[in-house]
Structures are given as C-alpha cells and as structure tokens.
C-alpha cells in the first residue's frame, strides 16, 4: 500500500527490516525540509515571527502524540531521542528516586537491551531485584504467570508491547489491570508496536510508555515518553541545562520549568519533532487497524509458504505482528542474510539486542524479516523463492 509515497522504495530492493527502522514518506521529509527552509529558528527563545511559528509547530506535535496514544493531557508527552532515551529517563529519573533495596521489577527475557540494561544498573546500584516473567512454549509472555509472582515488594512491571524478536503482542489491557489491582507501576516499551497498532495508555492503565519516531515513518533521533502527569511531576530530569530551568542563582538555588519542559534541556530536535508529527498524521490518515490487518495478511502468506520449504524453522508462527523470526537448518544466520542480500532482500540477522532471549529459545542468533504496510505479496514471495535456493548459499556468499 502507498508505495508511491516512499522515495526509498523502488524495484531494486525488498526491505524487510522494518523492526530496525522504517522508510520515510516524502511528506515527512518535506515537513522537515520546510522547517529548514522556511522557519529555521530555535524553539522557546524568540519573540519574532518565525520563532513563534517554531513554537506552534513543535508544540502541536505534542497534541498529535497525545491523540496517537490516547493520553489525557499534552503535558504528559515528553519529547526524547527515542525509546532508549525514554526508558532510561524513567529508570534513572523516577525509579532510582523511589525504588528501595529489595524492591522487585518484573521484566521478561525477550526484552530489548533498553528495557534490560537500565534495570541491571539499578540492581547493581540500589539493590533492586529483577525477576523474569516466564514465556510460554511459543515464546510469548505467560500472562497468567504474572499474578503468582507478585509480592509486596513488586513495584514495577516493565515490558515491550510487541517484542522485537518474537514479535508477540502482549495483552497490555490485562497486564495493566493486574498492575492497577496490585498498585504496581506499568512501564511499556512501545518501540515495535507504535505505528503498527492502536495504543491507548488510559484504557491499558499504562504509567509510562516510550517509543521512537523512526520505526513509524518518522525521522531518527526523536521519540516520545508518555508518563501520567503526577508521575512526571515527581520524576527528576536526567539532563540539566538551558530551556528546562525557570531560574538559577549563584547560591546554587534553582527552579525547574513545569512538566514536560523540565525534561527537554538544550535545543530540541526541532525538525525531527516536526517530522514525527507529520508521520503521525500520515498514520492516522491510513488507519492503524488497517495497517495491522495488512501486516498480518503478509505474515500469514509468508508463514504458509515458508512451511512448505524444508529446513526452515520459524520461531514465532503465532505472533500477531509482522515479524517473522527464522533460521535455516545448519546455516549461520549471518550467512543466510548475506545470501538474501544477493537478491537485494534486506533481512536482519543476529541477536537483535535481545541477548538473554537465548536462554529461552535455545539459539543465540536468528534471521528476522519484519513487514510494514508498504511491503507487498510479491516481495514476500521473492523471499520465499530465495529461501528455496538454500542449497546454493555457500556457493554464493563465499
């Protein structure tokens, strides 16, 4: 769908690495270009016309993000560098302040590094305890195992909405209910779900949610963090400087700006925030339900075809996202994707930053093909045809 909107799409390449980053439609590129060519001033600084326009365009994106994830207030949206930045802000700005030694955080072994390592650091620094929610036989999260794990020490559940290797969609409504019932904070990494399916932070009782723009048609280096207003109010910034303070004096006294501006020190990524806003418009115009449905159609087609090919093991047949994780028997994943590159098919190999998932799936490295709405059935069949030539891999890549 909508292939004509994407300058990167041509007949040459088949791009199946959308979980890593998506392509950008021309309108997003133009929105950023317009900032650089028509009103390229700083934000929150000037009283002249083009600077005021910057403020308007920049702040308007906050409303767009709010609507995209159904938050309550514009002030609950903090612009960040991306998901990793947002999750680190939550862990080091909020959790480091309020969690005590022995407090428990529940995550899973299929989380991305950005939802694992910050917690590890807090475990080492403050003595919090990380517990892993078990996975089911199909490597999806075992939601029914959550409640029995909860103790009076359980303070946070932090999970990806959609995991980046298995692609399983977590039932955030159910998990949010559990969190609310037990007075536990619910942190959601929405990197893989944003722009692919609907998110409603209020309905799912989500306390913090982080995402990046570049995986949902937007530019790199920008994203947003949602936090309930009262939580953001209590959260400390991780970065201090210009644009986020109300005043400071030589006697070390200072006062910070209100939420969310106290979290946006320094000149923000203005062009990128504006690009993100245009990407949100684009996605809203298309309709997220339609996008999700189409990705599932591509995935089902791919699975049905891949099942006919010998020696292909798919790890996540049932996952309800456009992510297919597979290996070819006796072929190292990197060798497989270098072979696919011969057909100009872009697929990723490796551990995909989920380095403790190997404990669960028994392999360290996999190939991952991830779809978006601009992929086609023909492209899926090209992948299938290429994989049928698997006996030629080593003749080809050496």
């Amino acid at each position: 769908m909508n292939r004509e909107d994407f300058p990167m799409l041509n007949d040459e390449i088949v791009y199946f690495d959308n979980s890593a980053t998506s392509f950008k439609p021309q309108c997003v590129i133009e929105a950023m270009n317009e900032y650089y060519t028509k009103y390229s001033a700083n934000a929150h600084r000037g009283d002249y016309d083009i600077s005021l326009r910057v403020d308007q365009e920049y702040e308007r994106v906050r409303t767009k993000v709010k609507e995209l994830i159904s938050a309550q207030r514009d002030e609950e949206i903090v612009f960040t560098k991306g998901t990793t930045d947002g999750l680190n802000m939550v862990v080091f700005g909020y959790m480091a302040k309020f969690l005590q030694k022995g407090d428990e955080v529940l995550i899973s072994k299929s989380e991305h590094a950005s939802n694992v390592l910050p917690w590890f650091v807090l475990a080492k620094k403050k003595g919090i305890v990380i517990k892993y929610i078990p996975l089911d036989a199909d490597y999806s999260l075992n939601v029914s195992a959550i409640e029995p794990m909860i103790t009076e020490k359980t303070k946070v559940i932090s999970l990806a909405h959609v995991t980046n290797v298995i692609g399983d969609v977590r039932d955030v409504d159910a998990i949010g209910e559990i969190c609310m019932k037990h007075d536990i904070l619910f942190v959601v990494d929405a990197a893989q779900s944003i722009g692919h399916m609907k998110i409603d932070v209020q309905k799912s009782h989500i306390d913090f949610l982080a995402f990046s723009a570049h995986k949902m048609l937007g530019p790199t280096g920008v994203g947003a963090l949602y936090g309930k207003y009262s939580l953001l109010n209590d959260m400390d910034p991780v970065i201090y400087g210009g644009g986020m303070n109300a005043f400071f004096e030589s006697d070390y006294s200072y006062e910070l700006k209100e939420v969310p501006w106290k979290f946006e020190a320094g000149t923000p990524n203005i062009a990128e925030v504006i690009g993100m806003g245009r990407a949100i418009d684009y996605l809203q115009e298309m309709g997220l339900d339609k996008i999700h449905e189409y990705e599932m159609h591509l995935k089902e087609l791919a699975i049905a075809q891949l099942e006919k090919i010998p020696n292909i093991k798919v790890f996540n047949k049932k996952a309800e996202s456009g992510i297919i994780t597979f290996n070819i028997d006796k072929v190292f994943s990197q060798d497989a994707v270098i072979f696919l590159n011969r057909f100009k098919i872009c697929v990723r190999s490796g551990n995909h930053c989920a380095k403790i998932l190997k404990d669960e799936i028994g392999v360290t490295n996999t190939c991952r093909a991830s779809f978006y709405f601009y992929n086609t059935e023909e492209e899926v069949l090209k992948l299938v045809e290429a994989l049928k030539c698997q006996d030629k891999i080593y003749d080809n890549i050496i």
């Binding site: 190292f332 990197q334 270098i338 490796g350 490295n365 890549i397 050496i398």
Partner: protein, 141 residues
C-alpha cells in the same frame, strides 16, 4: 588462486574445521573474541612453550568466513614460533585491510585475499587473529 578452489577450501574449513573443540588444560591460554557489530563469538586457546605455538584450538558460534578463517589460521600457526606467527598475523591484517602485504608468508590464508570486496565481512575474517594476538601478548607479559 582460482576462485573456485578458494571457495572449496573455505567451505571445507567451515564444514570440517580444524581443531574445533576446547580442552581442559591449564597450560593453555584461552581468550574469547566476539564481534560486537555482528554475531560471531569464538573462544581460542593456545599452548605456547619455549616461544613456539605448540597447539591451538577453538570453539564458538560464527559465520562461514569467521569459522573457516579460524580453522585455517590454527592450521597455519601451529608449530610456528611466536615471531613467525606475528609476521603472519601482521601480513594477514594488511591483506584484509587492503594494505601492502607479503602473500608468500600466508600460505593457505591467501584464500581470503578478496574478502575486502565485502567490507562487512572483514571483521569476521580478522576476529580469530585478534584472539591469537591477545594470547601471544598475554604470554609476553
């Protein structure tokens, strides 16, 4: 060297690597070498006595280029003095990085003389050499 012959040698070393499998012996120095940008992850162990690489072995998970390069490297270096090994390592590094090198020192390792055409595989070929260099350096210290 004929391209097909090169490929056959690489493939043979990938499918039947030389000295794959680690052993439990305190006399060996063992290092882990991994490629942060991709996924190769190998352990190399070597026994160096009286300035000679008496034995060396490896194990790990790695792509065809990395696994085969490790295998060819071990086959080439076992029995060499540390000084000879250092000359081979330096020349191999130069070959992969498209600098001047002496192919006559590299024996079967010359099969990788066109790897530079695939820049993303250079680190795969160099990984075992980083490991053996670490072992030699640690032995010197």
């Amino acid at each position: 060297m004929d391209e097909k012959l090169k490929r056959d040698i690489i493939l043979e070393h990938y499918q039947n690597p030389y000295h794959r499998g680690l052993i439990d012996d305190d006399r060996y120095v063992r290092v882990n070498s991994r490629n942060a940008s991709c996924v190769d992850n190998i352990d190399v162990m070597a026994l160096i006595e009286n300035g000679v690489i008496v034995d060396a072995r490896f194990d790990g998970e790695a792509c065809a280029i990395c696994t085969s390069a490790t295998s060819v490297m071990l086959k080439t270096l076992i029995g060499k003095t540390v000084e000879e090994a250092e000359v081979i390592i330096a020349n191999f590094n130069n070959m992969i990085n498209e600098q001047e090198y002496d192919g006559s020192k590299l024996a079967e390792l010359n099969v990788y003389d066109t790897i530079y055409r695939q820049p993303n595989r250079k680190t795969c070929a160099l990984l075992p050499f980083r490991a053996i260099k670490d072992i030699i350096d640690s032995k010197k210290n």
